[in-house]
Amino acid sequence: MPNVQSLRCKECGRDYPLDPIYVCDFCFGPLEVAYDYDTAAKNMSRESIQDGPPTIWRYDQLLPASRENAVDIGAGMTPLLKADNLGKELGLNNLWIKNDAANPTHSFKDRVVSVAATKALEFEFDTIACASTGNLAGATAAHGAKAGLKTIVFLPADVERGKILGAAVFGSVVLVNGNYDELNRLCSELGDDRRWAFVNINMRPYYSEGSKSLSFEITEQLGWRAPKHIIVPVASGSLFTKVHKGLNEFARLGIIDGAETKMHIAQPFGCSPVASAFVDGQTHPKPVIPDTIAKSLAIGSPADGFYSVGIANKTGGSATIVPESEVAEGMQLLAETEGIFTETAGGVVISALRSMVRAGVIGPDEETVALITGTGLKTLEAIADTVETKTIDPNVRSFDEIVTGAEVN
């Protein structure tokens, strides 16, 4: 926080005070937090990071909120696991899985909401809100509860019951009878005229900075270096752009020697506006109506899609569109090889990784990190038709017949 300078328009560069605003009044470009990197470099070192708490707040010198008053339920410092079994399956000798399902509400959204909730308190809001079909709902509800804020989470009325209960247990959930567009519009209007901290509207410039902690952690866990490749599941593109920003910031501050990481986009066929733009050589994604099993990636109008395409191009990265039929395959492959049960977005990443290796985008010995952003336990229905179980009678003969397949005399 001490190193934060202003909010700056990503398009025209105009500076704004650190208020709960998110769009440039002049060109309508998105606002982003700007830092005084010279001061940050003096205040931040590998040692000072390691002396910090085992959460995202160890990187507070490059976050836009104060560690002292942080709404901290333990987001961050999730495992970076060497994935030798999966690597062997795919033909990669240097593969790592960043398992963000290990966050308090089981997704990377805890990182961003921890920052948004802290800013909501700093701005003296009394209410925090979001509109979500899953992960963001749980993260906002949990951090709202910890912060002592009134919390309003909008969910489509037809979302799975498990997701509703997973957020409702923390506080107020409002179910909305309406389609995707209607819910978007309702929340846009509420965001305009209520004095609420709407995590991904007026808190967006601050909220999204929390995602940088993912790349900060990856470099720290690798021994202070950036990997050669990072594969990111893309929805709005916010995570993608911030993971890249985090790498560049660490390089700029000298925390790591450099960041030559190639940034790769993974999207499912049923919602791939960003990946399609990259593949087609376009700069701006064309909005689509999402129709994908990967609900957490179902953003047809991605606010940071343009910037994501630019970063993938600039870093020598790529984009992969994963067939819907391969999403569950990816989930199962990761579960069977590494013991990690990911949500559908993770299935998209693993299947994309497999395609990239086959296409020669990633060399066998190149250090590669795949981001797993949430747990499969919230999306059990996705693998309901692919997972097999065996049922036996309660005797050894039946066990041998059906499970071991042994001849029984």
């Binding site: 002049f26 060109c27 309508f28 979500s132 079909t133 846009s188 509207i201 709005s236 977005a345």
Partner: protein
């Protein structure tokens, strides 16, 4: 007067049509373009619309009928 910030995305066949001019003529809406780009086979415009909410709704319905993709400036707010 209510304001609405939106992105219009045009397919190739609509790029030459003065849709925004027609929107302002047909409906009681003030249009104010802030940013735009026209590419090889697509174009987009970010603009502010000012008028009564009903009039803006009617105007946007007409634009959508032409085949223009309309999205709130902020992108999708409802996320996973």
């Amino acid at each position: 007067m209510p304001l609405r910030r939106v992105t219009f995305t045009f397919k190739t066949d609509l790029i030459q049509r003065p849709v925004i001019y027609e929107l302002g003529k047909k409906f009681d809406i003030v249009t104010n373009v802030r940013r735009a780009e026209v590419g090889q086979d697509t174009g987009w415009v970010i603009l502010e619309l000012e008028g009564s909410l009903d009039e803006i709704d009617r105007g946007l319905a007409w634009v959508a009928e032409l085949g223009v993709d309309i999205n709130p400036l902020d992108g999708d707010i409802l996320v996973g």
